[in-house]
């Protein structure tokens, strides 16, 4: 917790700094000098005789000196406030040199730009996104990508309907002039350029539906889920049923809760009608839940004490939950992660950066270089929430399994990397390093985690 204290004391000291003396006090003291000078001028100009002039000028010397001294003090005080800030920073927040080797990010600006554009789109920042896309397009890309020339008159340029395709094309040329494109990137590029306008529309659709969900209108979401039901089902998603179920509950609650018109389409009769019309298609998979929903009708007057209380009570969390799973499914069907990848990567980057810097310092002092070509030479532990693939590290060789060295299950059920297994083999046979059983190499099976 020491680190936390340090940060807190830094922040405390800095917030105190804003009440320290500032330059503004010097301004009023300059006024005094001006006043002295103009008074003297008035008097000399008024009399215009050498005696008054010399008397006034002589008398002026000391007050002027004094007034300047005061300004000087003001400036000194302001400067020492700054220095105090500097000392606080040096003491509690010493400057650490950031790594300059950015793994060739500089050469892949078009890809970063695309990632940013997509991030802005998925965050629903459509205006910023189109400004950004426009601005990227209008850059005439010069040789080193770090120094785009930059037209300053672009502020008014915020077409909503701007096409990202051109962005990709512009960026594509950039890649080529840049002379260091990785071939497959170009492929990706081309393909995504075909889809990006579509992508923007898709995200716009997602936001419309989410807004409706927020306003507790489930219908657009249900409609979307229905038109994508085959894909959703293949993913093992129940979104459509979850939405329909919530619609039933929502109608069941009646006009006093849902503020919908009080007619035969609302309230319990409305819910029942809705169930009759729509629940049939879910019968095979969700019969149990449908039964519960229907049986709740019987308990309607006394719902809180009934076994169905839970389904009907937490209505607002139910809305947030479906909104979250809607976002997840929507993005998944586009091949995108539900959380912004850029957000995750940058957050992970901030978490992993200390390790990277520690490693760089260590190797620099020893004069050694990175040795592994494909794998980072140090661990970068991330929290559970940032784990997306199961990682299998062979317990014998301590190597991470890869495509070339895949995980294998041997007949006793233990898992090893293939290279390990090959080394363990005497002829065709091996003995499991973890249990007494023996096996044949041909019986080992490659697995997909």
């Amino acid at each position: 917790m020491e680190a936390k204290h340090r940060l807190e004391s830094l922040l405390d000291e800095l917030s105190k700094a804003s009440s320290l003396p500032r330059l503004s006090s010097a301004v009023s003291d300059v006024d005094q000098v001006i006043e002295l000078l103009s008074d003297a001028r008035e008097r000399i100009a008024g009399a215009m005789d050498p005696h008054t002039a010399s008397l006034n000028m002589t008398k002026l010397q000391n007050p002027i000196k004094f007034a300047f001294g005061k300004i000087n003090d003001d400036l000194k005080a302001a400067s020492s406030s700054h220095k105090k800030v500097g000392r606080s920073l040096d003491k509690h927040f010493p400057l650490k040199q950031l790594p300059t080797d950015d793994d060739g990010m500089e050469d892949r600006l078009p890809l970063i730009n695309r990632a940013i554009a997509m991030h802005l789109l998925r965050e629903g920042q459509f205006t910023v996104a189109s400004t950004f896309i426009n601005e990227v397009q209008t850059k005439t890309p010069p040789a080193p990508p770090s120094t785009f020339s930059e037209p300053m008159d672009e502020d008014d340029d915020e077409d909503e309907g701007e096409d990202e395709d051109e962005d990709e094309e512009a960026a594509e040329t950039h890649t080529n002039t840049n002379g260091s494109p990785v071939a497959p990137d170009d492929d990706d590029y081309d393909l995504s350029s075909l889809h990006s306008q579509e992508l923007q529309d898709k995200f716009a659709e997602m936001y419309t539906i989410l807004q409706q969900l927020k306003a507790q209108n489930l219908l657009p979401a249900i409609e979307w889920a229905r038109s994508n039901s085959a894909e959703l089902e293949a993913r093992g998603s129940n979104l459509e049923f979850e939405l329909s179920k919530l619609q039933y509950v929502w109608l069941f609650k009646g006009p006093s809760v849902n503020n919908l018109p009080d007619d035969e389409h609302n309230g319990r009769p409305g819910a029942l009608a809705y169930a009759r019309q729509h629940f049939g298609r879910f019968q095979a998979r969700h019969l149990r839940e449908i039964r519960q929903l229907a049986a709740a009708m019987v308990f309607a007057p006394n719902l809180p004490d009934s076994p169905y209380h839970m389904t009907f009570a937490a209505i607002s969390t139910a809305f947030t939950d479906v909104a979250a799973s809607f976002t997840r499914e929507f993005c998944s069907l586009l091949g995108l992660s539900a959380e912004s990848p850029l957000y995750l990567a940058v957050t992970a980057g901030a978490l992993a950066l200390p390790r990277l810097m520690k490693f760089m310092l260590a190797t620099r002092s020893k004069g050694t270089e990175w040795t592994t070509a494909q794998e980072l030479p140090f661990e970068t532990p991330l929290p559970e929430s940032m784990l997306f693939h199961s990682i299998f590290v062979c317990p014998v060789s301590k190597e991470q399994t890869t495509e070339d060295n895949p995980p294998m299950v041997i007949p006793c059920g233990h898992m090893l990397a293939r290279e390990t297994l090959q080394k363990l083999c005497k002829g065709n046979r091996f003995k499991c390093p973890y249990c007494p059983s023996e096996g044949l190499f041909k019986d080992a099976r490659r697995v997909v985690l």
């Binding site: 936390k4 940060l7 807190e8 922040l11 917030s15 330059l23 301004v27 001006i34 000078l37 001028r41 000399i44 100009a45 002039a53 010399s54 000028m57 002026l60 010397q61 927040f93 400057l95 950031l98 060739g104 990010m105 500089e106 802005l120 910023v128 400004t131 950004f132 601005e135 080193p144 770090s146 930059e150 300053m152 990785v182 497959p184 590029y189 995504s192 085959a230 293949a234 850029l342 990567a345 940058v346 957050t347 992970a348 980057g349 901030a350 950066l353 494909q374 980072l376 970068t380 997306f388 693939h389 199961s390 990682i391 317990p395 890869t402 495509e403 233990h414 697995v447 997909v448 985690l449």
Partner: protein, 437 residues
């Protein structure tokens, strides 16, 4: 557990990317102060001296009251000018203090958190991402985007738009072939540039000389020699080679192909000047040379990347031919960057792309190509997303709980399980337990 350790926020190290966020206002405070301190010293000595001299002159009878009034008027002009400068600087100072306190508040939000699993962390980290995006946009000259994003997120005080806009203005002028703005800047920061031994001013002076040489007029060439005497030869000790090159330039016309004179005449020098300027500018303000987003991305992409993220081996050999919508189609074992990677198909081709697992950010289209050439993370021990692994006859491994959940959701009869990716249905007994040691 190690995971809990990984989720803890280390306040000493967590703000590496945010150093400029607090440092820059401080550097700007100093810079702003210097911008008035020298004029003040200059004006105060001069006014004091003039007052004294005029007084003495009047006493000795060398000066008339008219002279005194004239001098006083001049001093008043000077002082009013100083006041204007001071007022502007005081306003700028207020703005910087205000910026700093907004940043302090922003960082305080992090100081209050202990783990990244805290819901408030996400909001904070999102704001950091926005800051880094604005930084990236500004450094690449996407100024309107930067302003739009900063305004949309209401975080003008957290980002340094003015500094970077001023920088790109000068950079742009250099790229457009004008040294004047950059020279003015050099003059404003003379002392600091000398301290960091920047050669920017020398290069700019040389460029002026080169431009005069470029013209064919003898008058201009004479001017160039004069210019060189005044601004370039004082650097003789520091840059002897460059200066002899400059001298040699007199013998060569712009069309020459002999080096180094051809490259001295080359237009690409302007771009290099712009780069040198940007470097000096960033260094002067203690800002990192690369956009913070690059640093964060290169470390973050690697930390998240696994060998599975760019695998082309989408299915195991024993896989039946049927292709599922969530699944890629290529079965080639070619190198990871083979051009027939199915880019049109969503990238979540790895084994666990459905049901409660989320699509991995590296596999997601946004970052996949970008992450292709970075190294993947190193892991010292296995980290499995699921417990109680079950091996299906097709070679795929899933957690028992998830298999059961999927079977139930798919409405399968009891005792049957379904592959979450390929959709194959097996009897429960066909699944074998797998042990990960």
């Amino acid at each position: 557990m190690a995971d809990l350790e990984a989720a803890k926020i280390n306040h000493d190290n967590h703000l590496l990317l945010d150093q400029p966020c607090l440092r820059l206002p401080y550097e700007l405070l100093r810079k702003n102060f210097r911008s008035v301190h020298y004029p003040f010293e200059w004006d105060s000595t001069s006014v004091k001296n003039v007052v004294k001299e005029t007084a003495n002159g009047l006493i000795s009878g060398k000066a008339t009251p008219q002279d005194a009034v004239k001098n006083l008027d001049q001093m008043l002009v000077k002082m009013r000018g100083l006041k204007r400068k001071l007022t502007a600087a005081a306003e700028e100072e207020d703005r910087l203090y205000r910026q700093m306190s907004s940043r302090v508040t922003h960082l305080h939000e992090l100081a209050d958190l202990n783990t990244v699993d805290d819901v408030r962390y996400e909001a904070w980290s999102r704001q950091r991402l926005d800051r880094l995006l604005v930084d990236y946009m500004l450094r690449h000259g996407y100024d309107s985007s930067a302003m739009a994003l900063a305004d949309e997120r209401k975080m003008r005080d957290l980002v340094d738009i003015d500094t970077f806009v001023a920088m790109s203005k000068i950079r742009k002028s250099l790229e457009g072939g004008s040294v004047q703005e950059a020279l003015t800047w050099c003059n404003e920061n003379k002392k600091e540039l000398r301290k960091m031994q920047s050669n920017l001013e020398f290069l700019l002076r040389c460029q002026q000389y080169i431009e005069m040489m470029r013209t064919d007029s003898p008058i201009k060439m004479a001017e160039a020699i004069h210019h060189a005497k005044k601004y370039i030869t004082p650097f003789t000790d520091t840059y002897p080679v460059e200066i002899s090159n400059m001298a040699g330039l007199l013998a060569y016309r712009p069309e020459t192909i002999s080096e180094p004179y051809a490259s001295l005449y080359s237009a690409s020098r302007w771009q290099r000047l712009a780069d040198t300027f940007v470097e000096a500018h960033l260094k002067l303000l203690g800002l990192p040379m690369t956009p913070l987003l690059h640093i964060a991305l290169s470390s973050g992409l690697s930390a998240l990347k696994t060998p599975a993220c760019h695998s082309t081996q989408l299915q195991v050999p024993s896989q039946p031919e049927e292709s599922q919508p969530v699944n890629g189609t290529a079965t080639t074992t070619a190198a990871a960057d083979s051009s027939d990677t199915p880019t049109a198909v969503p990238h979540h081709h790895h084994g666990t792309a459905s049901l409660t697992t989320r699509v991995c950010p590296i596999c997601s289209t946004e970052l996949n190509a970008l992450a292709r050439s970075v190294r993947y993370a190193h892991h010292g021990k296995s980290r499995l997303l699921e417990q109680d692994l079950v091996l299906l006859p097709n070679g795929r491994v899933y957690g028992k709980a998830r298999l059961e959940e999927y079977a139930a959701k798919s409405g399968l009869p009891a005792g049957q399980i379904k592959d979450l990716v390929t959709g194959e249905v097996f009897s429960g007994e066909e699944g074998r337990k797998v042990f990960v040691t």
